[in-house]
Protein backbone atom coordinates (compact mmCIF):
# COMPACT_ATOMS: atom_id res chain seq x y z
CA UNK A 1 0.00 0.00 0.00
CA UNK A 2 2.90 2.21 0.70
CA UNK A 3 4.76 1.26 -2.44
CA UNK A 4 3.03 3.40 -5.08
CA UNK A 5 3.78 6.59 -3.14
CA UNK A 6 7.33 5.50 -2.44
CA UNK A 7 7.98 4.52 -6.01
CA UNK A 8 6.62 7.80 -7.25
CA UNK A 9 8.82 9.76 -4.88
CA UNK A 10 11.86 7.75 -5.85
CA UNK A 11 11.23 7.90 -9.58
CA UNK A 12 10.12 11.48 -9.97
CA UNK A 13 11.82 13.25 -7.11
CA UNK A 14 14.90 11.41 -5.91
CA UNK A 15 16.04 10.20 -9.30
CA UNK A 16 15.79 13.62 -10.95
CA UNK A 17 17.86 15.09 -8.11
CA UNK A 18 20.48 12.40 -8.55
CA UNK A 19 20.50 12.91 -12.30
CA UNK A 20 20.88 16.65 -11.84
CA UNK A 21 23.72 16.11 -9.42
CA UNK A 22 25.42 13.91 -12.00
CA UNK A 23 24.77 16.36 -14.82
CA UNK A 24 26.31 19.11 -12.73
CA UNK A 25 29.56 17.21 -12.93
CA UNK A 26 29.40 16.82 -16.70
CA UNK A 27 29.98 19.41 -19.37
CA UNK A 28 28.16 20.52 -22.42
CA UNK A 29 30.16 20.27 -25.59
CA UNK A 30 28.27 21.46 -28.62
CA UNK A 31 25.27 19.24 -29.01
CA UNK A 32 26.54 16.47 -26.77
CA UNK A 33 27.58 15.96 -23.24
CA UNK A 34 31.02 15.13 -22.01
CA UNK A 35 30.42 12.33 -19.55
CA UNK A 36 33.60 12.62 -17.57
CA UNK A 37 33.23 13.92 -14.06
CA UNK A 38 34.69 17.30 -13.41
CA UNK A 39 34.03 20.37 -11.37
CA UNK A 40 34.27 22.73 -14.33
CA UNK A 41 30.74 24.01 -13.93
CA UNK A 42 31.34 24.87 -10.31
CA UNK A 43 34.62 26.53 -11.18
CA UNK A 44 32.83 28.55 -13.83
CA UNK A 45 30.31 29.58 -11.21
CA UNK A 46 32.88 31.02 -8.87
CA UNK A 47 34.94 32.52 -11.69
CA UNK A 48 32.37 34.32 -13.73
CA UNK A 49 30.99 37.36 -11.97
CA UNK A 50 27.94 36.78 -14.10
CA UNK A 51 27.11 33.63 -12.19
CA UNK A 52 28.23 34.40 -8.71
CA UNK A 53 26.85 37.89 -9.15
CA UNK A 54 23.37 36.50 -9.73
CA UNK A 55 23.60 34.49 -6.50
CA UNK A 56 24.73 37.58 -4.62
CA UNK A 57 21.87 39.55 -6.14
CA UNK A 58 19.43 36.84 -5.16
CA UNK A 59 20.66 36.74 -1.59
CA UNK A 60 20.63 40.52 -1.29
CA UNK A 61 17.11 40.80 -2.68
CA UNK A 62 15.85 37.91 -0.56
CA UNK A 63 17.31 39.32 2.64
CA UNK A 64 15.87 42.77 1.95
CA UNK A 65 12.49 41.28 1.12
CA UNK A 66 12.48 39.12 4.25
CA UNK A 67 13.47 41.94 6.60
CA UNK A 68 11.07 44.49 5.09
CA UNK A 69 8.21 41.99 5.03
CA UNK A 70 8.72 41.03 8.68
CA UNK A 71 8.85 44.67 9.75
CA UNK A 72 5.67 45.50 7.85
CA UNK A 73 3.82 42.31 8.74
CA UNK A 74 4.38 42.21 12.51
CA UNK A 75 2.46 45.40 13.34
CA UNK A 76 -0.36 44.32 11.05
CA UNK A 77 -0.53 40.86 12.66
CA UNK A 78 -0.44 42.54 16.06
CA UNK A 79 -3.27 44.92 15.26
CA UNK A 80 -5.36 42.10 13.83
CA UNK A 81 -4.80 39.87 16.85
CA UNK A 82 -5.05 42.52 19.55
CA UNK A 83 -7.11 45.48 18.41
CA UNK A 84 -9.62 44.05 15.96
CA UNK A 85 -12.71 42.60 17.70
CA UNK A 86 -12.70 38.82 17.62
CA UNK A 87 -15.75 38.61 15.39
CA UNK A 88 -14.07 40.54 12.63
CA UNK A 89 -10.66 38.92 12.80
CA UNK A 90 -11.44 36.08 10.45
CA UNK A 91 -12.96 38.44 7.93
CA UNK A 92 -9.94 40.74 8.18
CA UNK A 93 -7.62 37.83 7.48
CA UNK A 94 -9.67 36.63 4.53
CA UNK A 95 -9.65 40.16 3.19
CA UNK A 96 -5.87 40.25 3.48
CA UNK A 97 -5.56 37.02 1.48
CA UNK A 98 -8.21 37.94 -1.07
CA UNK A 99 -6.04 39.84 -3.58
CA UNK A 100 -3.80 36.79 -3.89
CA UNK A 101 -6.56 34.63 -5.26
CA UNK A 102 -5.65 35.59 -8.73
CA UNK A 103 -2.91 33.81 -10.62
CA UNK A 104 0.58 34.46 -9.19
CA UNK A 105 1.76 35.36 -12.68
CA UNK A 106 -1.02 37.88 -13.12
CA UNK A 107 -0.39 39.30 -9.66
CA UNK A 108 3.18 40.14 -10.56
CA UNK A 109 1.99 41.53 -13.89
CA UNK A 110 -0.42 43.84 -12.09
CA UNK A 111 2.50 45.58 -10.44
CA UNK A 112 3.60 46.56 -13.94
CA UNK A 113 0.28 48.32 -14.29
CA UNK A 114 1.14 50.31 -11.20
CA UNK A 115 4.86 50.89 -11.65
CA UNK A 116 5.35 51.22 -15.38
CA UNK A 117 5.81 54.36 -17.35
CA UNK A 118 2.27 55.56 -17.84
CA UNK A 119 1.06 53.36 -15.02
CA UNK A 120 -0.87 54.35 -11.94
CA UNK A 121 1.95 55.97 -9.98
CA UNK A 122 3.34 57.70 -13.02
CA UNK A 123 -0.05 59.17 -13.79
CA UNK A 124 -0.57 60.17 -10.20
CA UNK A 125 2.70 62.12 -10.18
CA UNK A 126 1.86 63.73 -13.52
CA UNK A 127 -1.56 64.80 -12.27
CA UNK A 128 -0.04 66.32 -9.17
CA UNK A 129 2.40 68.19 -11.34
CA UNK A 130 5.36 66.62 -9.53
CA UNK A 131 6.88 65.57 -12.83
CA UNK A 132 6.68 66.65 -16.47
CA UNK A 133 7.14 63.30 -18.17
CA UNK A 134 5.87 59.79 -17.46
CA UNK A 135 8.17 57.98 -15.03
CA UNK A 136 8.88 54.28 -14.81
CA UNK A 137 9.50 52.53 -11.53
CA UNK A 138 9.55 49.10 -13.09
CA UNK A 139 12.30 46.93 -14.51
CA UNK A 140 14.70 47.32 -11.65
CA UNK A 141 15.56 45.70 -8.35
CA UNK A 142 13.19 48.01 -6.47
CA UNK A 143 10.23 46.79 -8.49
CA UNK A 144 11.19 43.18 -7.82
CA UNK A 145 11.41 43.91 -4.11
CA UNK A 146 8.01 45.60 -4.13
CA UNK A 147 6.49 42.68 -5.99
CA UNK A 148 7.94 40.20 -3.50
CA UNK A 149 7.12 42.20 -0.39
CA UNK A 150 3.52 42.46 -1.61
CA UNK A 151 3.23 38.68 -1.45
CA UNK A 152 5.31 37.91 1.59
CA UNK A 153 3.79 40.54 3.86
CA UNK A 154 0.60 38.55 3.52
CA UNK A 155 2.34 35.25 4.28
CA UNK A 156 4.17 36.62 7.32
CA UNK A 157 1.05 38.32 8.64
CA UNK A 158 -0.59 34.91 8.67
CA UNK A 159 2.22 33.08 10.46
CA UNK A 160 2.76 35.80 13.02
CA UNK A 161 -0.97 36.22 13.58
CA UNK A 162 -1.35 32.47 14.13
CA UNK A 163 1.39 32.61 16.76
CA UNK A 164 -0.06 35.68 18.48
CA UNK A 165 -3.61 34.34 18.49
CA UNK A 166 -2.67 31.14 20.29
CA UNK A 167 -0.68 32.85 23.03
CA UNK A 168 -2.41 32.36 26.35
CA UNK A 169 -3.67 35.69 27.71
CA UNK A 170 -2.39 34.53 31.09
CA UNK A 171 1.18 35.41 30.13
CA UNK A 172 0.23 39.00 29.62
CA UNK A 173 -1.74 39.08 32.85
CA UNK A 174 1.08 37.47 34.81
CA UNK A 175 3.65 39.90 33.46
CA UNK A 176 1.39 42.87 34.18
CA UNK A 177 0.67 41.53 37.64
CA UNK A 178 4.39 41.42 38.35
CA UNK A 179 4.79 45.05 37.39
CA UNK A 180 5.57 45.12 33.67
CA UNK A 181 4.10 47.94 31.60
CA UNK A 182 2.88 47.37 27.99
CA UNK A 183 6.31 48.04 26.43
CA UNK A 184 8.13 45.65 28.74
CA UNK A 185 5.44 43.00 28.38
CA UNK A 186 6.08 43.16 24.65
CA UNK A 187 9.86 43.01 24.87
CA UNK A 188 10.23 40.35 27.54
CA UNK A 189 7.20 38.16 26.91
CA UNK A 190 5.32 38.68 23.64
CA UNK A 191 8.23 39.15 21.26
CA UNK A 192 10.20 36.08 22.45
CA UNK A 193 7.05 33.98 22.36
CA UNK A 194 6.23 35.04 18.80
CA UNK A 195 9.73 34.28 17.52
CA UNK A 196 8.66 30.86 16.22
CA UNK A 197 5.99 32.49 14.08
CA UNK A 198 8.47 35.02 12.77
CA UNK A 199 11.16 32.42 12.10
CA UNK A 200 8.85 30.02 10.29
CA UNK A 201 7.47 32.83 8.17
CA UNK A 202 10.92 34.26 7.49
CA UNK A 203 12.26 30.88 6.49
CA UNK A 204 9.35 30.25 4.12
CA UNK A 205 9.84 33.73 2.71
CA UNK A 206 13.53 33.12 2.14
CA UNK A 207 13.07 29.78 0.43
CA UNK A 208 10.15 30.83 -1.77
CA UNK A 209 11.71 34.14 -2.66
CA UNK A 210 15.17 32.94 -3.60
CA UNK A 211 13.73 30.25 -5.88
CA UNK A 212 11.19 32.44 -7.62
CA UNK A 213 11.58 33.01 -11.35
CA UNK A 214 8.30 34.78 -12.11
CA UNK A 215 8.50 38.03 -10.15
CA UNK A 216 12.06 39.06 -11.07
CA UNK A 217 11.49 38.10 -14.69
CA UNK A 218 8.38 40.27 -14.95
CA UNK A 219 9.43 43.20 -12.80
CA UNK A 220 13.21 43.11 -12.64
CA UNK A 221 14.26 44.22 -16.08
CA UNK A 222 17.29 42.90 -17.93
CA UNK A 223 20.14 44.68 -16.31
CA UNK A 224 20.39 42.66 -13.13
CA UNK A 225 19.58 38.98 -13.09
CA UNK A 226 18.76 36.82 -10.12
CA UNK A 227 19.83 33.21 -9.79
CA UNK A 228 16.59 31.62 -11.05
CA UNK A 229 16.76 33.76 -14.16
CA UNK A 230 20.36 32.75 -14.77
CA UNK A 231 19.34 29.13 -14.35
CA UNK A 232 16.52 29.44 -16.86
CA UNK A 233 18.83 31.12 -19.34
CA UNK A 234 21.20 28.17 -19.23
CA UNK A 235 18.32 25.98 -20.31
CA UNK A 236 16.42 28.11 -22.75
CA UNK A 237 19.24 30.01 -24.47
CA UNK A 238 22.18 27.72 -24.16
CA UNK A 239 20.66 24.27 -23.59
CA UNK A 240 23.43 23.86 -21.05
CA UNK A 241 21.79 21.33 -18.76
CA UNK A 242 25.00 20.61 -16.86
CA UNK A 243 25.53 24.24 -15.96
CA UNK A 244 21.88 24.65 -15.00
CA UNK A 245 22.16 21.56 -12.83
CA UNK A 246 25.22 22.94 -11.09
CA UNK A 247 23.34 26.16 -10.37
CA UNK A 248 20.43 24.11 -9.04
CA UNK A 249 22.80 22.24 -6.71
CA UNK A 250 24.21 25.52 -5.46
CA UNK A 251 20.72 26.88 -4.84
CA UNK A 252 19.86 23.76 -2.86
CA UNK A 253 23.05 24.13 -0.84
CA UNK A 254 22.22 27.73 0.05
CA UNK A 255 18.70 26.81 1.11
CA UNK A 256 19.98 23.88 3.17
CA UNK A 257 22.43 26.12 5.00
CA UNK A 258 19.65 28.56 5.87
CA UNK A 259 17.46 25.64 6.97
CA UNK A 260 20.16 24.30 9.28
CA UNK A 261 20.70 27.74 10.74
CA UNK A 262 16.98 28.22 11.39
CA UNK A 263 16.52 24.73 12.82
CA UNK A 264 19.40 25.22 15.19
CA UNK A 265 18.09 28.61 16.24
CA UNK A 266 14.63 27.22 16.90
CA UNK A 267 16.03 24.36 18.94
CA UNK A 268 18.04 26.69 21.12
CA UNK A 269 14.94 28.58 21.99
CA UNK A 270 12.73 25.56 22.42
CA UNK A 271 9.42 26.33 23.95
Amino acid sequence: MLTPALLWTLAFFIMPLVIMATYSLWERAGMTLVHSLSLTNYEKFFDKSYFIGSLVNSIEVTVIVTVVSVLLAYPLAWILAERVPRRWQRLALILAILPFWTSYVVRSYSWLLVLSEGGIISNFLLDLGLTQNPVSFANNRGATVVGFVHFFVMLLTLTIYANLAQLSPSYRKAAADLGAGPMRIFIYVILPLTMPGIMVGAFLTFVLCIGDYITPQILGGNRELLLPQTMMLQISRRSDFPMASALAMILMAVVSLVYIACARWLKLDRI
Binding site: A5, W8, P16, Y104, N123, P228, F241
Partner: protein
Protein backbone atom coordinates in the same frame (compact mmCIF):
# COMPACT_ATOMS: atom_id res chain seq x y z
CA UNK B 1 -3.01 58.73 24.36
CA UNK B 2 -5.21 55.77 23.68
CA UNK B 3 -6.99 57.69 20.92
CA UNK B 4 -3.67 58.45 19.25
CA UNK B 5 -2.74 54.77 19.36
CA UNK B 6 -6.06 53.74 17.86
CA UNK B 7 -5.82 56.32 15.10
CA UNK B 8 -2.28 55.30 14.14
CA UNK B 9 -3.30 51.65 14.22
CA UNK B 10 -6.25 52.33 11.95
CA UNK B 11 -4.05 54.37 9.62
CA UNK B 12 -1.42 51.64 9.44
CA UNK B 13 -4.03 48.99 8.66
CA UNK B 14 -5.57 51.14 5.95
CA UNK B 15 -2.20 51.86 4.36
CA UNK B 16 -1.20 48.22 4.36
CA UNK B 17 -4.51 46.96 3.06
CA UNK B 18 -4.33 49.68 0.44
CA UNK B 19 -0.91 48.39 -0.57
CA UNK B 20 -2.21 44.82 -0.69
CA UNK B 21 -5.27 45.66 -2.76
CA UNK B 22 -3.76 48.26 -5.09
CA UNK B 23 -2.51 46.03 -7.94
CA UNK B 24 -5.59 43.84 -7.98
CA UNK B 25 -7.96 46.79 -8.00
CA UNK B 26 -6.04 48.32 -10.88
CA UNK B 27 -6.09 44.98 -12.64
CA UNK B 28 -9.83 44.57 -12.40
CA UNK B 29 -10.69 48.19 -13.15
CA UNK B 30 -8.67 48.31 -16.33
CA UNK B 31 -9.93 44.97 -17.51
CA UNK B 32 -12.97 47.01 -18.47
CA UNK B 33 -10.83 49.47 -20.41
CA UNK B 34 -12.17 50.50 -23.80
CA UNK B 35 -8.87 51.41 -25.40
CA UNK B 36 -5.80 49.29 -25.95
CA UNK B 37 -3.70 50.26 -22.90
CA UNK B 38 -4.80 49.23 -19.38
CA UNK B 39 -3.48 52.40 -17.83
CA UNK B 40 -5.13 55.72 -16.90
CA UNK B 41 -7.17 57.41 -18.15
CA UNK B 42 -10.01 54.95 -17.80
CA UNK B 43 -12.31 55.06 -20.80
CA UNK B 44 -14.54 52.14 -20.18
CA UNK B 45 -16.49 50.27 -19.20
CA UNK B 46 -16.30 47.72 -21.93
CA UNK B 47 -16.60 43.98 -21.96
CA UNK B 48 -14.76 43.50 -25.20
CA UNK B 49 -11.65 42.07 -23.63
CA UNK B 50 -13.70 39.49 -21.75
CA UNK B 51 -15.34 38.57 -25.00
CA UNK B 52 -11.90 38.34 -26.56
CA UNK B 53 -10.77 35.81 -23.97
CA UNK B 54 -13.82 33.68 -24.31
CA UNK B 55 -13.23 33.56 -28.04
CA UNK B 56 -9.55 32.88 -27.71
CA UNK B 57 -9.31 29.22 -28.56
CA UNK B 58 -5.84 28.68 -27.20
CA UNK B 59 -6.75 30.32 -23.95
CA UNK B 60 -9.88 28.25 -23.52
CA UNK B 61 -7.94 25.09 -24.30
CA UNK B 62 -5.32 26.05 -21.75
CA UNK B 63 -8.08 26.62 -19.24
CA UNK B 64 -9.61 23.19 -19.73
CA UNK B 65 -6.12 21.67 -19.66
CA UNK B 66 -5.54 23.30 -16.30
CA UNK B 67 -8.78 21.89 -14.95
CA UNK B 68 -8.05 18.38 -16.17
CA UNK B 69 -4.47 18.38 -14.92
CA UNK B 70 -5.54 19.80 -11.56
CA UNK B 71 -8.33 17.27 -11.04
CA UNK B 72 -6.40 14.22 -12.14
CA UNK B 73 -3.11 15.02 -10.45
CA UNK B 74 -4.88 15.99 -7.23
CA UNK B 75 -6.90 12.79 -7.24
CA UNK B 76 -3.71 10.80 -7.72
CA UNK B 77 -1.98 12.79 -4.98
CA UNK B 78 -4.77 12.17 -2.50
CA UNK B 79 -4.99 8.46 -3.25
CA UNK B 80 -1.23 7.89 -3.07
CA UNK B 81 -0.93 10.10 -0.03
CA UNK B 82 -3.78 8.29 1.71
CA UNK B 83 -2.40 4.81 1.03
CA UNK B 84 1.02 5.86 2.27
CA UNK B 85 -0.38 7.55 5.37
CA UNK B 86 -2.59 4.58 6.12
CA UNK B 87 0.18 2.03 5.91
CA UNK B 88 2.63 4.11 7.94
CA UNK B 89 0.08 4.96 10.59
CA UNK B 90 -1.37 1.50 11.00
CA UNK B 91 1.54 -0.84 10.56
CA UNK B 92 4.83 -0.59 12.31
CA UNK B 93 7.41 -0.63 9.57
CA UNK B 94 11.18 -0.49 9.92
CA UNK B 95 12.59 2.93 9.27
CA UNK B 96 9.17 4.54 9.60
CA UNK B 97 10.67 7.87 10.53
CA UNK B 98 12.97 7.81 7.53
CA UNK B 99 10.11 6.93 5.18
CA UNK B 100 8.04 9.79 6.54
CA UNK B 101 10.92 12.14 5.91
CA UNK B 102 11.41 10.80 2.43
CA UNK B 103 7.76 11.22 1.50
CA UNK B 104 7.61 14.80 2.78
CA UNK B 105 11.03 15.80 1.41
CA UNK B 106 9.69 17.40 -1.80
CA UNK B 107 8.04 20.05 0.37
CA UNK B 108 11.46 21.39 1.21
CA UNK B 109 12.75 21.73 -2.34
CA UNK B 110 12.10 24.73 -4.54
CA UNK B 111 9.61 24.11 -7.38
CA UNK B 112 12.19 25.48 -9.78
CA UNK B 113 14.61 22.71 -8.88
CA UNK B 114 11.91 20.03 -9.07
CA UNK B 115 10.91 21.42 -12.47
CA UNK B 116 14.47 21.38 -13.74
CA UNK B 117 15.03 17.90 -12.43
CA UNK B 118 11.98 16.62 -14.23
CA UNK B 119 12.92 18.42 -17.44
CA UNK B 120 16.38 16.89 -17.49
CA UNK B 121 15.09 13.45 -16.50
CA UNK B 122 12.31 13.40 -19.08
CA UNK B 123 14.82 14.60 -21.64
CA UNK B 124 17.26 11.86 -20.66
CA UNK B 125 14.63 9.12 -20.96
CA UNK B 126 12.88 10.46 -23.99
CA UNK B 127 9.61 11.27 -22.24
CA UNK B 128 7.92 13.94 -24.36
CA UNK B 129 6.91 17.30 -22.97
CA UNK B 130 3.18 17.11 -22.43
CA UNK B 131 0.28 17.59 -20.07
CA UNK B 132 1.06 14.16 -18.66
CA UNK B 133 4.51 15.41 -17.71
CA UNK B 134 2.91 18.39 -15.95
CA UNK B 135 0.56 16.04 -14.14
CA UNK B 136 3.45 13.91 -12.96
CA UNK B 137 5.22 16.99 -11.66
CA UNK B 138 2.12 18.15 -9.83
CA UNK B 139 1.74 14.81 -8.09
CA UNK B 140 5.35 15.15 -6.95
CA UNK B 141 4.62 18.47 -5.26
CA UNK B 142 1.15 17.67 -3.94
CA UNK B 143 1.42 14.12 -2.70
CA UNK B 144 3.70 15.03 0.24
CA UNK B 145 1.14 17.59 1.34
CA UNK B 146 -1.71 15.11 1.19
CA UNK B 147 0.39 12.57 3.03
CA UNK B 148 1.28 15.02 5.78
CA UNK B 149 -2.30 16.17 6.30
CA UNK B 150 -3.79 12.68 6.26
CA UNK B 151 -1.07 11.17 8.43
CA UNK B 152 -1.62 13.81 11.07
CA UNK B 153 -5.32 12.92 11.18
CA UNK B 154 -4.84 9.20 11.69
CA UNK B 155 -4.58 9.31 15.42
CA UNK B 156 -5.43 6.94 18.23
CA UNK B 157 -9.14 7.62 18.14
CA UNK B 158 -9.37 6.70 14.49
CA UNK B 159 -7.27 3.62 15.11
CA UNK B 160 -9.58 2.40 17.85
CA UNK B 161 -12.64 2.73 15.67
CA UNK B 162 -10.92 0.70 12.98
CA UNK B 163 -9.96 -1.93 15.52
CA UNK B 164 -13.58 -2.14 16.60
CA UNK B 165 -14.60 -2.67 12.98
CA UNK B 166 -12.03 -5.44 12.53
CA UNK B 167 -13.21 -6.98 15.78
CA UNK B 168 -16.70 -7.14 14.31
CA UNK B 169 -15.43 -9.00 11.30
CA UNK B 170 -14.60 -6.40 8.65
CA UNK B 171 -11.89 -7.24 6.16
CA UNK B 172 -8.97 -4.92 5.41
CA UNK B 173 -10.44 -3.18 2.38
CA UNK B 174 -13.83 -2.97 4.04
CA UNK B 175 -12.26 -1.19 6.94
CA UNK B 176 -10.66 1.26 4.56
CA UNK B 177 -13.71 2.02 2.47
CA UNK B 178 -16.41 1.79 5.10
CA UNK B 179 -14.60 3.26 8.07
CA UNK B 180 -11.32 5.04 7.43
CA UNK B 181 -12.26 6.98 4.33
CA UNK B 182 -15.60 8.30 5.62
CA UNK B 183 -14.05 9.27 8.95
CA UNK B 184 -11.25 11.09 7.22
CA UNK B 185 -13.58 12.86 4.87
CA UNK B 186 -12.73 16.42 6.00
CA UNK B 187 -8.99 15.79 5.73
CA UNK B 188 -9.39 14.08 2.37
CA UNK B 189 -11.42 16.96 1.11
CA UNK B 190 -8.98 19.52 2.47
CA UNK B 191 -5.97 17.83 0.84
CA UNK B 192 -7.80 17.45 -2.45
CA UNK B 193 -8.84 21.08 -2.41
CA UNK B 194 -5.37 22.28 -1.45
CA UNK B 195 -3.79 20.18 -4.20
CA UNK B 196 -6.16 21.59 -6.78
CA UNK B 197 -5.31 25.10 -5.62
CA UNK B 198 -1.58 24.52 -5.96
CA UNK B 199 -1.85 22.68 -9.24
CA UNK B 200 -4.19 25.19 -10.82
CA UNK B 201 -1.85 28.12 -10.36
CA UNK B 202 1.46 26.29 -10.70
CA UNK B 203 3.70 27.85 -13.33
CA UNK B 204 7.32 26.80 -13.35
CA UNK B 205 6.91 23.03 -13.65
CA UNK B 206 4.18 23.47 -16.26
CA UNK B 207 6.35 25.93 -18.15
CA UNK B 208 9.36 23.68 -18.28
CA UNK B 209 7.83 20.32 -19.14
CA UNK B 210 5.12 21.34 -21.59
CA UNK B 211 5.35 22.15 -25.25
CA UNK B 212 2.18 22.52 -27.30
CA UNK B 213 -0.52 21.72 -24.82
CA UNK B 214 -0.14 24.10 -21.94
CA UNK B 215 -1.95 25.06 -18.78
CA UNK B 216 -3.47 28.45 -18.11
CA UNK B 217 -0.57 30.07 -16.21
CA UNK B 218 1.79 29.19 -19.08
CA UNK B 219 -0.59 30.62 -21.63
CA UNK B 220 -0.94 33.79 -19.59
CA UNK B 221 2.83 34.00 -19.47
CA UNK B 222 3.05 34.08 -23.23
CA UNK B 223 0.37 36.76 -23.25
CA UNK B 224 2.75 38.87 -21.20
CA UNK B 225 5.02 39.12 -24.17
CA UNK B 226 2.59 41.57 -25.67
CA UNK B 227 3.24 43.91 -22.79
CA UNK B 228 0.46 45.76 -20.97
CA UNK B 229 -2.78 44.47 -22.44
CA UNK B 230 -6.35 44.68 -21.10
CA UNK B 231 -6.86 41.13 -22.30
CA UNK B 232 -4.37 39.98 -19.68
CA UNK B 233 -6.24 42.07 -17.14
CA UNK B 234 -9.43 40.33 -18.13
CA UNK B 235 -7.96 36.84 -17.74
CA UNK B 236 -6.56 37.71 -14.34
CA UNK B 237 -9.84 39.20 -13.20
CA UNK B 238 -11.75 36.19 -14.40
CA UNK B 239 -9.48 33.82 -12.49
CA UNK B 240 -9.93 36.01 -9.46
CA UNK B 241 -13.69 35.97 -9.83
CA UNK B 242 -13.81 32.21 -10.23
CA UNK B 243 -11.64 31.68 -7.13
CA UNK B 244 -13.78 34.09 -5.16
CA UNK B 245 -17.02 32.41 -6.15
CA UNK B 246 -15.58 28.96 -5.46
CA UNK B 247 -14.43 29.88 -1.97
CA UNK B 248 -17.72 31.62 -1.25
CA UNK B 249 -19.55 28.51 -2.40
CA UNK B 250 -17.41 26.32 -0.17
CA UNK B 251 -17.78 28.63 2.78
CA UNK B 252 -21.54 28.94 2.54
CA UNK B 253 -22.55 25.49 1.46
CA UNK B 254 -19.93 22.98 2.47
CA UNK B 255 -18.70 24.51 5.70
CA UNK B 256 -22.04 25.76 6.88
CA UNK B 257 -23.40 22.26 6.58
CA UNK B 258 -20.62 20.74 8.63
CA UNK B 259 -20.96 23.43 11.27
CA UNK B 260 -24.68 22.81 11.78
Amino acid sequence: MKALRNVSAALYVMLLYGFIFLPVLVLITFSFQESRLPVPPFDGPSFKWYQAILHDRRLMEALSNSVVVALLSSAASVVLGFLAAFSLARFTLPGSRFLQGLLTAPLTVSYLIIAMGLLITFNEFGVPKSLLAIGIGHVVINMPLCFAILYSQMGEHQHNVERAARDLGAGEWQVIFLISVPMLWPALFASFFLSITFSWDEFIIAFMVSKFDVTLPVEIWSMLRSGLNPKTNAVGSLVFLVSFVLVLFLELIVFRKSRS
